[in-house]
């Protein structure tokens, strides 16, 4: 690539320089709160065995439904397990499934969006019809129906969530590609003999990444909520004893009259994690948007 064409092919378009982006990102206090919450959930998930004060699986019927105390800060459940430890371990399954599902859905969405947007034609028409069908439908219903039919397992939940994630991503990426493929730097690359694959992945892809990152971060909150809803409805992937926030809430339903602490803490964990991703996503969007202050 000559120096002349290199000048026509900016690495990123409409995106502030990295330093300015980071300065903007970290100067916003709500973004910092979001980042702290997200990091907190990640630390819980990764270092659960180190942080958790008790064994989350250890049953002890002599500790049946104990209220919060110095020994059990969040109390115990109906088989005497420590709720604090189970909430900490619960971050593992929630984050693992949500991050993988979001990753798979976004990857498929970006790939399909790049191809359909760049080549157009009958494939584009066909795929956009499919996108319309999926999007003309309440998302949770699709996931629940799919998992209800396929059976609850980790892979099926990831598949079900990915099925509802990709169409939005495809639509977002496709609309960007439609305008980018007419840009001068793409024409320049084409006239220099670059192959389509090279143009798509070397020149167009870097320019669609930032809106996708914002979309993916903002969407993660919703995916975590969906995952928790599924395990709450008994369609989660967790094995009987594995701690999962949604399942802990289901189990606590029988005890709402006698043990307020059982439904309280898993819900707060979900709320804070989702809030964290929403605040971080908002912050990323503002920091990447050149029009905002």
């Amino acid at each position: 690539m000559s120096a002349k064409t290199a000048a026509l092919m900016p690495e990123t378009q409409h995106v502030p320089s990295q330093n300015r982006f980071l300065r903007r990102l970290f100067s916003n206090p709500t973004t910092l709160i979001g980042l702290t919450l997200v990091l907190g959930a990640l630390v819980c998930a990764i270092f659960a065995p180190v942080i958790a004060p008790k064994d989350p699986y250890a049953r002890d019927l002599s500790k049946y439904v104990l209220a919060p105390s110095a020994e059990h800060l969040f109390g115990t459940d109906d088989v005497g397990r420590d709720i604090l430890s189970r909430v900490i371990y619960g971050a593992q399954i929630s984050l693992k499934i949500s991050l993988i599902a979001q990753g798979v859905g976004i990857l498929i969405g970006v790939f399909v969006g790049l191809i359909t947007g760049y080549f157009g034609g009958w494939l584009d028409t066909l795929i956009m019809r499919v996108v319309d069908i999926v999007m003309a439908f309440p998302l949770l219903i699709i996931v629940i129906a799919l998992i209800g039919v396929l059976g609850p397992s980790e892979n099926n939940i990831i598949l079900g969530l990915a099925v509802v994630i990709w169409p939005n991503t495809t639509r977002l990426v496709r609309s960007q590609v439609l305008s980018l493929k007419e840009a001068e730097f793409v024409t320049a690359a084409r006239s220099l003999g670059s192959a389509d694959a090279g143009i798509i992945f070397r020149h167009i892809l870097p320019n669609v990444i930032s809106p996708v990152v914002v979309y993916a971060t903002l969407g993660l909150g919703g995916i975590i909520l969906a995952e928790a809803s599924l395990s709450f409805l008994g369609l989660g992937s967790a094995q009987q004893a594995t701690p999962s926030w949604g399942k802990m809430l289901t189990e606590s339903r029988a005890f709402i009259r006698s043990a307020w602490w059982m439904p309280l803490y898993p819900g707060i964990a979900i709320l804070l994690t989702v809030l964290g991703f929403n605040l971080l996503g908002d912050g990323l969007r503002d920091a990447l948007d050149v029009r905002s202050k």
């Binding site: 019809r129 309440p138 629940i144 928790a228 409805l233 309280l264 819900g267």
Partner: protein, 306 residues
């Protein structure tokens, strides 16, 4: 208008047909024999064959599809595996509680969300603005089923304000589910009202109205809010559509016998005709409400004509 309506319905047909075919084939590729499922362990060869014939499972799949499509067009969605009642009757019965809950929740959201957004926009950067933004943020982050559980604990068990915290009835039992279902929508309505109104308040015609000496309230209601109505109605309508189909978590928590809970129960019981019928019903309701909102636009903004 009629031409627009017809073209929209024609556009809708492939979507509905797509969902229909998808659910049909999804149910057919499942492992396991529905006849075996229906007959259970007690079924002998003869009764299994009889059930298979009754369900047309012994015919080629395209024949099955044609027969099923024919039945559907006549309003027959088959019978539930569990209750043996017609699926369409069961959906019809569950539709009433669902629409009662959805309408109550959307009304609450409208009464609280829009004024909160208005105050937030008019008193930008005030404590009210901060409060309404907090409500909007928490509203989209809170798990609705957890909110429901907490309200049962607080208002039912501890404060004892609401003696019956679950079950169906147009009485105190409707309060908690309606509030739980409305929070997400309050969040959305507050956000959209605030941002739209902020845009409108910066327009020239608002400055003109103010400089004519009109009272602030009059400027706000007659000039600003009327012009901010379009996105508000859109969000209200899509939320209503979402609630009609998506209130399944609230319905489950509060044992509210609506369509969402019927779906959850049908999935638990592997009642495939019921799941299939509900998915199609949800698609129709969702698409139908979105169409109604679009048809409503010209009444809000006379510049829109179909």
């Amino acid at each position: 208008m009629t031409r627009y309506l017809v073209s929209r319905i024609v556009q809708l047909l492939p979507t509905i047909l797509g969902i229909y075919l998808l659910t049909f084939f999804m149910m057919r590729i499942l492992p396991g024999d529905p006849a075996q499922f229906l007959e259970g362990d007690r079924g002998d060869e003869q009764s299994m064959a009889e059930t298979r014939r009754r369900l047309r499972l012994d015919e080629p799949i395209l024949v099955q599809l044609a027969a099923y499509l024919g039945d559907t067009l006549q309003g027959d969605l088959g019978r539930s595996f569990i209750t043996n009642q017609p699926v369409s009757d069961m959906i019809g019965r569950a539709f009433v509680p669902t629409i009662q809950l959805a309408l109550t929740a959307t009304t609450i959201a409208l009464i609280l969300g829009v004024p909160l957004g208005v105050v937030s926009a008019v008193r930008q950067n005030s404590i009210w603005d901060a409060l309404s933004r907090l409500v909007a943020l928490v509203g989209v982050s809170i798990p609705v089923f957890w909110l429901g559980l907490q309200m049962q604990v607080i208002f039912g068990v501890q404060l004892k304000w609401i003696p019956r915290i679950s079950g169906y009835g147009i009485d105190e039992r409707l309060i908690l589910p309606a509030i739980s279902a409305s929070l997400g929508m309050i969040a959305l309505l507050t956000r959209i009202t605030r941002s739209t109104l902020l845009d409108v308040l910066n327009q020239d015609y608002i400055r003109t109205a103010k400089s004519k000496g009109l009272a602030n309230l009059r400027v706000l209601t007659r000039h600003a809010l009327v012009n901010a109505l379009l996105p508000i109605v859109t969000v209200w309508g899509t939320s209503l559509a979402g609630l009609l189909s998506g209130a399944l978590l609230v319905e489950t928590i509060f044992s509210w016998p609506g369509m969402g809970r019927l779906l959850v129960d049908s999935i638990g019981a592997r009642d495939y005709p019921m799941i299939q019928g509900l998915v199609i019903a949800f698609a129709l309701i969702y698409a139908g409400i979105n169409l109604l909102i679009d048809l409503f636009y010209p009444f809000i903004d006379p510049r829109i004509r179909y």
